[in-house]
């Protein structure tokens, strides 16, 4: 079981409030991603759940038990750190076995569990090596192995992939998702990368300045962002925003249109613009277009739309997919 409840969880350092009070339910077996810009409090929140950071006020419950004051090891959680935090003087085997040794597990059981974890994570051939002799991806797998053997009620990941290169990040993302499907254990994953959030999460918690901006499934957040912040943060490239004369006909203070919801034509359309930069990704092309009414706009078109710098193009919004926001930046539905 790995049911985690946060009740008005608050964190302050002296007079500075980092997290003003968060309520959150995490169901057993869910893959939850905390996402937000740096400094939004997502890591602090995770560390409070882990017990590495004190809670200033509020309550944290795991499986119905109040663990607000419990020591990290007593919470039945396992954590994977950004820097991997492996023990450099121990072999891979001893790294993975460490939590079991601390729990005074029977050596035969330790042997078996370590072997199982190594098999799942493709580390069997590296058990006698030290962390210094491993690549970044392998180190990350050892860190995950150390977490798995404890059979925790939930895994906590603190930006685990940010030290890896782009290609490896993609592979590890898949591996972690597969691991979740295999183990069906609750996972809480902190990242600033919205692509990781969208691709891995069952549920995304978008944080900004210590506040929960929105909680929902990746597609929920994508299709129905609650406010300007979520609209701008989720989705890549970023949503285009426009105010004033352009938003008035929609009865909104601000409108937002995702780059993939703009139709492009060379003949005619709602707004006229000039291509300033064309980023050709192959299947897709991102066009950065200077328009007359909307300013700088990003549009996503098929790779065969051969536009280059200086070309004149016409943009039309996909009318059903224009997001409307009021003066306070809240979505109008």
């Amino acid at each position: 079981m790995g049911n985690i409840k946060l009740r008005k969880v608050n964190k302050s350092f002296g007079a500075t409030t980092v997290i003003p009070g968060i309520d959150l339910n995490i169901e057993d077996g869910e893959f939850v991603v905390f996402v937000g810009p740096s400094g939004c409090g997502k890591s602090t929140l995770l560390r409070m759940i882990a017990g590495l950071e004190d809670v200033s006020s509020g309550k944290i419950e795991i499986d119905g038990k109040d663990v607000t004051e419990a020591a990290p090891a007593k919470r039945g959680l396992a954590m994977v750190f950004q820097s991997y935090a492996l023990y450099p003087h121990m072999t891979v085997k001893n790294n993975i076995a460490f939590p079991l040794k601390m729990a005074k597990t029977d050596p035969a059981v330790i042997e078996k569990k370590v072997a199982d974890a190594a098999r799942i994570l493709n580390l069997t051939n590296y058990l006698e090596r030290r962390p210094g002799q491993l690549s970044g991806g392998q180190r990350q797998r050892v860190a995950i192995g150390r977490a798995i053997v404890r059979e925790p009620s939930a895994f906590l990941f603190d930006e685990p992939l940010s030290n890896l290169d782009a290609a490896l990040r993609g592979t590890m993302r898949l591996e972690i998702s597969e691991l979740h499907n295999q183990l069906k254990t609750t996972m809480i994953y902190v990242t600033h990368d919205q692509v990781e959030a969208m691709t891995m999460a069952d549920k995304i918690v978008v944080l900004n300045a210590g506040n929960v901006e929105q909680v929902g499934s990746p597609l929920d957040l994508y299709h129905k962002p609650n406010n300007l912040f979520v609209a701008g943060f989720i989705g890549s490239p970023r949503m285009n925003f426009a105010t004033g004369a352009i938003s008035q006909p929609y009865g909104a203070h601000t409108i937002g249109i995702r780059p993939e919801h703009l139709r492009l034509s060379r003949e005619g359309g709602t707004w006229k613009g000039t291509v300033s930069v064309a980023e050709h990704l192959g299947a897709d092309t991102f066009l950065h277009i200077k328009t007359e009414g909307m300013g700088q706009v990003t549009a996503r078109v098929g790779g065969d739309f051969g536009a280059e710098h200086g070309d004149t193009v016409y943009l039309s919004p996909d009318e059903g997919r224009v997001h409307r926001f009021d003066e306070k930046g809240m979505a109008i539905r």
């Binding site: 023990y87 450099p88 601390m102």
Partner: protein, 274 residues
């Protein structure tokens, strides 16, 4: 062209480095040379080639028991170092991993005690030692040297511990390690290089300490520093014997320093480059 210039530079700096090193080492070298001279040769003036006699060594050993002093030096320097480590490891641990607002001040205050001239507290400490019956006592001297070197030991360990990433200790905590297990299984093994160089440096400092060792001992607890001093006064100045005594006193630490130089250099520059 550029390569030629840089090679000439290298040669130049190598020569300069050798000259500086020789200048620094020369007094020790000359002491060793003089120790192999007869007393007549020794007072004849500057001469780099000794006759090679070992009569001074024989005389020194005949006059006083070198090994008694040597043993005292070992007991006092190793003892004070171990005692200092036992006290400083937990102290440096708490300062490095759960610092408070006052931690920096405490560290500065500890270091500031090293800035005070030792002679300022000579009388009170002498009186305390006399009243507690610690004069000329190995235990008393061990405690004294522990206290003298404690600030440096704490500072060094603190610096090493600070280099250990906090996340690793947090990982240990998540893994269920108690404070004891955390220190024994995670922190200490990672800090071994730092602790080792602190240990070596402190042994050297304690071995060479002459102010207190000479003043607080006479015969029973006297280490090698007192051994050298004992040759400088009673029968006038006998340079060859004094040099022989000095060579005998510095030889052990010189040999130890030679074998552990890699460790010492690593320890002293630890943390300079990540």
């Amino acid at each position: 062209m550029a390569r030629a210039v840089s090679k000439r530079r290298t040669v130049f700096f190598t020569i300069v480095a050798w000259i500086v090193a020789l200048l620094i080492f020369f007094p020790i070298l000359y002491t060793i040379i003089t120790s192999f001279k007869s007393e007549t040769e020794a007072i004849q003036g500057f001469n780099l080639i000794p006759s090679g006699t070992i009569e001074s060594y024989a005389a020194v050993q005949a006059q006083s028991n070198y090994f008694k002093f040597f043993l005292n030096s070992v007991i006092i320097s190793v003892g004070s170092t171990l005692l200092a480590l036992i006290i400083s490891v937990p102290a440096a641990w708490s300062m490095a991993f759960s610092p408070t607002k006052k931690t920096k001040d405490i560290l500065m205050w500890m270091l500031s005690t090293k800035m005070m001239p030792a002679v300022a507290v000579l009388v009170p400490i002498y009186l305390l030692f006399r009243d507690f019956g610690l004069l000329d006592n190995r235990f008393g001297l061990t405690v004294m040297l522990t206290m003298i070197n404690l600030p440096i030991v704490v500072w060094m360990l603190y610096t090493y511990f600070r280099e250990i990433p906090g996340e690793i200790l947090e990982a240990a905590r998540m893994d269920g390690a108690s404070l004891w297990n955390e220190i024994v299984h995670v922190l200490t093994p990672m800090a071994v290089p730092g602790i080792a160089s602190t240990l070596l440096l402190n042994i050297i400092l304690a071995w060479n300490e002459a102010f207190w060792t000479i003043r607080l001992t006479t015969t029973n607890a006297a280490p090698l520093t007192a051994f050298i001093a004992s040759f400088s006064s009673p029968q006038g100045l006998f340079w060859a014997k004094l040099s022989a005594a000095s060579t005998l006193a510095i030889a052990p630490i010189l040999i130890m320093g030679w074998f552990s130089q890699k460790q010492l250099v690593r320890g002293l520059t630890f943390g300079a480059v990540k």
